[in-house]
């Protein structure tokens, strides 16, 4: 039991999320092991994004507890959760469209740097050094995600594929140990999807745990260590990809008549 504890980075216990009459998550229980890629799949409206929002503090769960590295986080605000090392991307890309590619990633570096408003206003030498440090760190991340050559372009001008990648880069700049990626491959073409899969694997190789919501089954089956299936806010299956692929409940609820239905 003790060994299992230390192996678990995120623990969701009996979480209920109700919006008025609609219950988006029903007594949800699951754990995420440190260093894995865990996928959350399920039909539209299954509660996947709601789950992300609850974990990352967009809103607190109606009931239940969430532990991150043994610390209860369900009552914390989004920026406090980010500080603990949980970062995320959004289903509908939420980049800072009024900034350059580099600046977007530099906002990600924001919270790992400290400076007072007054020190910034006076542009003290410490502030200048930190700014330089943030810039270098951001460029390093852009190299990692493959967007270094676009660093001075406006984030708004990037094609969708690169915007999704940039959002992942911004999330990585917060130095997370746990990232929630909400449909990183949605709307991407084949090459871009492949690159995204690769990127997610490389993130895992850096020791970061990944929680992934994705509809593209090739991506999910290809890179996940573990899959959880939600349907109408309830967990209906959980296990390694091979097991999930052959689970009759999953096939019935999610895949419907056949695989091409979803693809």
């Amino acid at each position: 039991m003790d060994e299992e504890r230390t192996d678990t980075i995120l623990e969701v216990n009996d979480v209920v999320m109700a919006f008025g009459g609609l219950t988006a998550l029903i007594n949800l229980n699951f754990q995420v092991r440190r260093g894995v890629i865990k996928a959350v799949i399920g039909p539209n409206g299954a509660g996947k994004t709601t789950l992300f929002n609850v974990i990352t503090g967009t809103f607190p769960p109606t009931e239940g507890a969430i532990f991150f590295k043994g610390q209860s986080i369900e009552h914390l605000k989004a920026h406090e959760i980010a500080r603990l090392g949980i970062s995320r991307t959004f289903q509908t890309v939420e980049l800072f469209t009024n900034m350059t590619v580099l600046e977007n990633v530099m906002v990600g570096c924001h919270m790992r740097t400290k400076s007072s408003f007054i020190a910034s206003g006076l542009r003290l030498s410490t502030v200048r050094r930190k700014e330089e440090h943030m810039r270098e760190k951001a460029i390093g991340i852009l190299k990692f995600i493959g967007l270094a050559d676009k660093c001075n372009e406006s984030a708004d001008s990037l094609p969708l594929g690169e915007r999704k990648v940039l959002e992942i880069g911004r999330a990585l700049a917060t130095e997370p140990t746990f990232v929630c990626l909400d449909e990183p491959a949605a709307g991407l073409n084949e090459t871009e999807t492949l690159a995204a899969s690769n990127l997610i694997r490389r993130i895992k190789d850096q020791g970061v745990t990944v929680l992934l919501v994705e509809h593209d089954m090739r991506v999910v089956m290809d890179i996940s260590d573990d899959i959880m299936v939600l349907n109408y806010g309830e967990k209906i299956a959980e296990g390694p990809p091979v097991e999930i692929q052959n689970n009759p409940r999953v096939i019935e609820a999610y895949l419907g008549g056949g695989e091409e239905y979803d693809a």
């Binding site: 995320r88 800072f96 009024n98 530099m106 906002v107 001075n152 917060t174």
Partner: protein
Amino acid sequence: MLQIRKLPLIVFALLIVVFPWIARGVPAIANYPDLMVFAGIYCLITIGLSLLMGYAGQISLGQAAFFGIGAYVSAILTAKYGMNPWICMAIGMVAASIVAVLVGVPSLKLRGHYLAMATLAFGIIVFIIFNEEGEWTGGPDGLIGIPGLNLFGFQFNSVEKYYYLVWFFVFAVFLFTINIIQSRDGRALRAIHVSEAASSATGVNVSRYKIVVFVYSAILASLAGSLYAHYLNFINPSTFDLFFSIKLLIMIALGGMHDIWGAIIGAFLITFLSFEWLHFFEEFEIIVYGLILLVVTIFLPQGLAGIPHMIKNWLRR
């Protein structure tokens, strides 16, 4: 990368320094330094408002109230209690920031129209207090006998001297604000403007930043109010009414909200329009402002400061 270039800043500073000499030689613009004092005072407010609205995306229709708080704190404490004006100026800024926190904490949770309504209501309430608390504020008649400023025996007792004092403050504030914009704090503010969800998920403390920038804009407006009171030596509530808050908004909309230079350009133009060039229209002046706002929002959404950018984009095409 958001870089604010140094050259225009230096040119602008030189122009400001030499302007009074030029004005002395040209009778037609002899009264311009006096107008420039007001333009400078308004610049202090619009710089803060530009950071608050243009950069952080938070609307305030109550800036006149903070301007008034600075003016009245300075006026009451100096004229009635004979206190040192510089200390009163500081007290005014502290008072404005306390009020800004009290107003900001609940209302900055609101967005868009609701925030506009909340700050509008705040502005109206403060305006009523200025009018009704006659024992303190002198009511609608206002306060007279506000002393001028002096520093170590040096009297700022002429238009020119006061001009340099005000513009010293404007430049200090302008540089400070430019540094903020180019720092991590400035990025955080611009991030909040676009997406609060993404900002907080990225670790930006959104509510704290909103309060900080609101307080900052209030402090600048209060400083401007104190300088205004000591320049005119007389104040009354009508200066601090809702129309002034809207006029400030027109200034930054005309100048361009997304560029800190817009705050300066807008303050200049509206000051000269209202004191000098629009006398001809008399009470129809307000219609002219309405037209300006209309034309700017339709044809120049980036304001005058956005014109170079528009031309650049147009040439690229």
